[in-house]
């Protein structure tokens, strides 16, 4: 992070340019939505744009592109736990407890018996 006045002065234009780029990405997000893409493709496009915008905010406005290692360490831990949290929905899909089993007819035996 630039803390000296000269470095900060040089960053002013960058802040405005990033702000403008974020607004352009917002327009692209809305425009892509009007194309009525297939749902999986629309989700992919919207999330790619959102991740790009989020990275720009974090890297430039929050000065994460040039931070101390303690902050990177804390955020790495956060990213790991966040990934675990986001994987929770997949465990609910894999969970078969309570799922009705196919009925076995009279005289039939499960395979292998």
């Amino acid at each position: 992070m630039h803390s000296d006045p000269a470095g900060v002065r040089a960053s002013l234009r960058k802040y405005v340019m990033i702000g403008a780029a974020l607004l352009v990405f917002t327009v692209i997000t809305v425009a892509a939505n009007r194309l009525h893409l297939a749902v999986p493709f629309a989700i992919t496009v919207a999330l790619i744009i959102a991740v790009t915008k989020g990275s720009m905010v974090a890297a430039v406005f929050m000065h994460l592109s040039n931070e101390k290692k303690w902050i990177y360490g804390a955020l790495l831990l956060t990213a790991i736990f966040f990934a675990v949290l986001m994987s929770v929905p997949f465990f609910t899909i894999m969970d078969s407890i309570g799922t009705p089993q196919p009925a076995i007819g009279v005289g039939e035996h499960p395979a292998g018996h």
Partner: protein, 194 residues
Amino acid sequence: MNIPYTVEERPDSGLANGKLGIWLFLASEVMLFGALFSTYIILRTGATEWPHGELSVPLGALNTVLLISSSVTMVMAWAMLKLHNWGRHRLYLLATFALAGIFLVNKYFEYSDHLARGEGPSHSTFLAIYFTLTGLHGLHIVGGMVVMAYLLGPGAKLWKQNPDQFTNRIEYTGLYWHFVDLVWIFLFPVLYLL
């Protein structure tokens, strides 16, 4: 008694206490919103049908523009302090506060329109998660505005006593504010577009 490391950096971490503190707080916020996003995925993948076009995309897009603009004015407010331009700093911080206020007014119109049609949180699963996510986000906006109001009002006196500490406070407020913007960047497509 002076609290140590409010301005100077700790020799072990190379950070002022407030900087590490706000980042740890933001890490907990990531988990809070992450839990709700995870809930959204479970609800949506488990639903037999999911409504489309229930929310006003122009209003949502306008709110995105407002928050992005407020992030720019917030970082400029910090930069102006670094350049010792007090007048410009006040102007940018006031602009950030005003943009946040307009965001909340828009949200009020959106909420009141839904509630007038009897579409409260209990109306559907979609509206339940919509009100939960945007309501929590709205509370964060209010929290940020309270801090900004303090820094514009009584808290501004610190600039004359300890300009470096005041600059750090603006930086930490900015980090929080950019995070609130970042959350909205994901909320907008997830709730309004997909």
